[in-house]
Every structure is written in structure tokens, then in C-alpha cells.
Amino acid sequence: MTAIIEATGLSRRFGAVRAVDDVTFAVEEGSICGLLGRNGAGKTTLMNLVTGQDFASAGTVRVFGEDPVENARALTRLCFIKESQSYPDAYRGRHVLAMAPHFFPHFDAALAERLVADFGVPVDRMVKKMSRGQRSAIGAIVGIASRAELTLLDEPYAGLDAVARHIFYDRLLEDYAAHPRTIVLSTHLIDEAADLLDHVLVIHEGRLEIDADTEELRGTASTLVGRASDVEAFVAGREVLAREHIGGISSATVAGLGADDKARAASSGLEVTPVSLQQLIVRRTGGATRTEEAAS
């Protein structure tokens, strides 16, 4: 496996704000990597740095082994679709799709046409008069159909309804299976996208909090469900990340359960399930905020 993106000590400051703060990571070729974090965590800034749209304050980033800034060799092989993408005033949807093949050499116009039908995008409408969801759909269509070796999607489905989002996941996975590529997907709808992701980068207040394979990350905690008394007895003395009670039934999310722990839990009548990625990340990033607030 080779790294398609390599960032080392990457930082971007806006005045006193550290939008991206000393971030080091690598994205492997062929993976689908989730870039997760709360609003304003630095996801978009990080993607701007990776695609040469913004300039690093410190550190380096390499894409296909090269500095992406003003580098057509790297840029012509990637496609970056961002939620805030702006379009020329006079553009209708079809103008965007007519331009895309010129800029993205692997663009599949037939696929784009199918996706237009799937998403129901009114391509004859002025882009500036489209709803947020329709603009997002145009971006998603270009992102999928461009088949760039490296595709970065920044909140690609902002404003899309649940049905359209599922179309997006399905078509993206379908085309990814037929034409493997490296995908970086930023989102805060973590659980929805979780099944797609091989790898997870969690950024919080500009810093990289988690850099792990999805499976590995899920294994770091488990949720136990059972009678309240059984659950309490089992978790006594353990690190409990979350707790819920409904009637006599309790569930507790516990960190670091080994195989024998799980077996013991099962034998004492508890149901052991892998934790949801979203819960885990909410714990890690939400918790961090509180400790920092307490410290300051």
C-alpha cells in the first residue's frame, strides 16, 4: 500500500485561530477515509490544504508524492467537491456537467447522466436558483462521475434528504467497486457513513484526535445491554463511556473489553454489541471540549 496523501505537521492559522494545528497523517491508496469532526473543527480547511486551494502556515502535505500547490500533475488527478463550491453566475446545471469532462480526464458522461436521473437534478435550472440539496447533488454527481484517482468530498450531501443520501452512498460504493480509487469523505453524519469507511480521521479544534481503522476503532469499546442490576455488576470498576436506562433495562458503553471479558458478559446474560462509531466519536470529541473548558 502506498500513501496518496501524506501530511506532516500541517498547520493553518487565521490570525489567532488555529484552524488546522500540527496535523500528521497518511491516507492509503484505495481506501475510503472518513474525515470526521464537528462544525468548524477544521475539516474543510484541511481539505483545502490537501488540494492546494489554501496555503499551509507550517508543515507539509504531499499528494501523489508531490506538493499540490499550483501543481497540475497532482491536481489533474484529483477531484475536490466542497459543499461551498461556487459556480459562475450564468451557469445552469448542464453547463457544470458540460465543463466537467474537460477538467477531469476520467469523467464518465453516461454515468453522470444516470446520476442526474437518480438524483432528479433540474439541470436546466440556473445553479444559483437551485436549492442547497440540488447544488449538493450536482457536486456529488461530478465527484462520482469524475473517477479521479483521489476524490475528496466535503459534506457532499448537505441539504440532501435521507433518500437522496442513500442514493449517494449506493452509487458511490457501486462505482468505487468497479473503478477503485482513493476517497476522502468529510461528514458529521457519522453513523450513516460508517459502513462505507475503511479508515477514520477525527479532527477536533484543528487537532487530529483519532487516526485509526474503522474496525479497530469499533473494537475499542462495546455496548452491553441487559437487566440494570446485571449491567451494573459487570461494569463496576470499569471505564464507562455512556450509560442509558429504559425501565429495568440498562445499556453501558465500556472501553477496552477483551475476548474473555465479552464471553463473561455474555454468560452473565448481557448482550454485547459493537459500539456505534458516532457514540464513540461524540464521547471523544465532546469529552475533550469539556476537559479543555474546565482547564481554561
Binding site: D54, R73, L75, S86, A90, F103
Partner: protein, 253 residues
Amino acid sequence: MTAIADTARPGALVPAGRRVWNVVRLHVANPWPALILPWIVLVSIHALTWSIWAIISHYAGPGIEEDAFRYAGGVSWLVIYMMIIAIQAMNAGFRFALGFSSTRRDYYLGTVTFFAIMAVVFGIGLGLLALLERATDGWGLDGSFYAPAYLYDAPFAVVAFHYFALYLLFTTMGAMIGALFVRWRANGLYLYFGALALAVVALVWWLLDAGWGPTADFFTTNPLAVVMAWTLPVSVSFAAVGWVVLRRAPARG
């Protein structure tokens, strides 16, 4: 600059010439605002001007002065319109092109190429309309719409070159203003208008002090083509400043 050496090395999936040409195409994907609308508005203003001429000459009768309709300014809005088109092209076009994996360099080269092509198209187009104007005896009323005032006697080549140079001057200025906006948003515009105000004050100061004589000489002794040729280095300077500003502009927001 290493950036320029990079284009010579092989490896980009789209060759350099095509990348620049793609940006030209991007500006005319919808040809309406830059290519079609200006001509429609121009012809409409022409029609309006012509009707006013017709009314005046009807009531003035045969005693009207022969140069009465020689100073129409209807064409001048075109250069202002094109400057606005240039500013818009820089603003939305820049972020769109970067979103489509262009480099800033390819974007700027393509955009300036687009302006240059447009300057040729409008220069020749307006020159041909001026010829038509003369062939029809000033649209039947001895009027000068496309070659008014100092262009009245100028040959086709001079009329065309005049519009070409004027167009280039205003679009490169628009490109520079657009670049300032893209780089520094509103602060860039404050900078531009501040600098413009200072330049105007300095110019007036100089004209009142010592410059009036040589300036008047420059415009009266030089033929029109030479005066217009002097705008070319100014246009090149605008374009150069635009590039210096844009090459470090982020594609935010």
C-alpha cells in the same frame, strides 16, 4: 519560478495548452452574458439613439448642423459592462476553476486569453459596424454611433484597434480589481479605490503644476493609434498586478 518549469515536465493528465483553453471555455460555457447580451443591448441603444436622431432631424428640418449627430456616447457603456464581466469572471470563475482542479496559473492565463480574444472580437465587430455606418450614410441620418467624435474620420484599422485597446484596458483593470477582491475581499476593494483616489489627486496636481502642456501636446500631436498603443503597456501592468495578487489567493468561502 519553479512553477513555470513544472509545466514543461510531462505527467499532468491534461496538457498545459488544453488546461488553459479549458478555462477559456469555462467563461463561455453559457455564452449569453459575455457574447450575446452585449450586442443585443448595444443594438437596442443604437435603435434608441437613432429614433432620437430621427425626431430631432424631423423637427430641426434641413437647417441642422452637419455634425449634430457625431458625438453619441452609446458605445462607451460596453467597456464598463465588460469590466464588470471581468470582475465577475474573476470572482466566481476563480473559485469554480480551482474547484475543478485548475491551478491559479492556468486559470489566470486562460482568463486573460479569454479577455484578449474578446478584445479582438469586439474590436473587429465594432470596426465593421463603423464601416456599415459609413456605407449607409450614418444610418440615413449622418449619425455616428459606432465611430463617433474623434473616430469619425479614422480608417477601419484605427477604429478596430481603438476598441481592441480600450477593451483590453478595461478588462485587465477588471481582472486586477477581481483579483484584489478574491484575495482580500472588501479590504482589497478599499485598497484599490484608495490607490485610485490617490492616483487621481496626484494626476490633477501634476496637470495643474507642470503637466498640462506636455499632456495636451501628447494628445494633439500623436495620432489616435499611437495614443491607443500607449494603453497597451498600462493593460499589461494591470494584468501583471492581477497575477501577483492572485497567485497567492486562497479559494475560500
